[in-house]
Symmetry: C2
Subunit: 283 residues, 2 copies
Amino acid sequence: MKEIHIIGVGLIGGSFALGVKNVHPNCKIVGIDSNPEHLEEAKTLGIIDATGAISDIGSADLVFVAIPVNHSLTILPEVLNHVSENTVVVDAGSTKEDICEAVKHHKNRRHFLASHPIAGTEFSGPKSALSTLFQNKTNIICEVEETAFKLQEKALKLFNDMGMRIRYMNPQAHDKHIAYMSHLSHISSFMLGKTVIDKEQNERDIFDMAGSGFESTVRLAKSSPEMWTPIFEQNKINVIETLNEYILNLKHFKSLMESDNFEAVHHEMKATNRIKDILNGMQ
Amino acid sequence: MKEIHIIGVGLIGGSFALGVKNVHPNCKIVGIDSNPEHLEEAKTLGIIDATGAISDIGSADLVFVAIPVNHSLTILPEVLNHVSENTVVVDAGSTKEDICEAVKHHKNRRHFLASHPIAGTEFSGPKSALSTLFQNKTNIICEVEETAFKLQEKALKLFNDMGMRIRYMNPQAHDKHIAYMSHLSHISSFMLGKTVIDKEQNERDIFDMAGSGFESTVRLAKSSPEMWTPIFEQNKINVIETLNEYILNLKHFKSLMESDNFEAVHHEMKATNRIKDILNGMQ
């Protein structure tokens, strides 16, 4: 791995660059970003060694695309126009169906590997990049059979070197399940933040009452709307389904409280406690 | 501070005991609990020095009551029956109106200080006690004027020694605002956990897709139903109000998605991002 180009040098792209440098210290990292300030910051922070342009990505062994998913739909085909024989293009988007569709008929489709590393924080930009972000994280690979074998092998070896676990899934299953496991959490958190801000906007002292529980539950409401709006747009049908079920469950819980059925309230919580074992089993 | 009795040696009571020992290493800590195993554990872990009974709390400088809030309603008057001239009784419950009401006409009301330290984790029992749990945390004191001056002074000095910030509030305001700042977070988290478990119960592999975002948002769904059911029962009216607003906000977000108004979806998230500044301002 001699040269990697990163398109989008924010939290995800920047962390990928730093993670690569942990395991391949001599690899040259070229950054490409529509935001010149981010490029400057990424250079200063030692995340990238040089800046580049999409037209030059043919010199890269691997191109990592970490931009909002609406931009991926137009940038990925353009990137694929410029690959050389040995270039593999990997994306990091939180939706996979539209992205796979956007490159489906591209003449260089076999140079693309659709991926979604399940890693992130609520922060954005190169300053929030972390060299260990991808360690011990799951990376979901979609339509692996559509990628040339030698190129998938190269990308998967790098993911492995960086300490990621690989899981294979089709784009439809990915988008459906990730709506439950990630997208819904973001909306529940944003709407929790909104509910509290709307109520307490004139009583700033009240935020002294926020404990670690509130902070943890509302953490994702700090996330970037620029990144999340196109995710919800692309995964609209699945996300609406999760919202319908979540709202039904909340209404049911409320109706149990209204009818003073606190035995059932207790049961609802007890049954959900097993999330503890499920998440532990995950480790 | 020579002797403190802790009623309920779980996460909160146990952490309080360890926190006291940090600043008053020679203080004798007596534990009282309906669960003999917890008492045994607390002794083994060095959380308490001895076990005791409610009838003996007269020898304590301070009694700290950290039990589910339904039990507080009956135990607190009983504890107040046994105080000596110098004993102050402090509770740690997440509801304050019913608790203040339960002791309102007690002949020893002036020995009671209603408090709610905003501190905790999703775990329970003496094993989860942390000596630093109360450091830099807010402790809400209600009806301070109903407590004898010398006794409030003693309790407040201890809270101060342990690094807590004190805020004063009336029980009605406490219960209303804590519904937003804490109780709602727990329900949003429990129902998120339920929604995901219900959907994915036959697909355990799917939990590999859980990232740190899901884990953070669902963390409170690990909390004890024994502790939380009576809190929701005592604070029913306020909690139902928060649920109504939360459900309305979720429905509105969903309707924006259904009508493809992603500009408004973006705006909703952008406006809520200021939770970042609000929570930072809190520190």
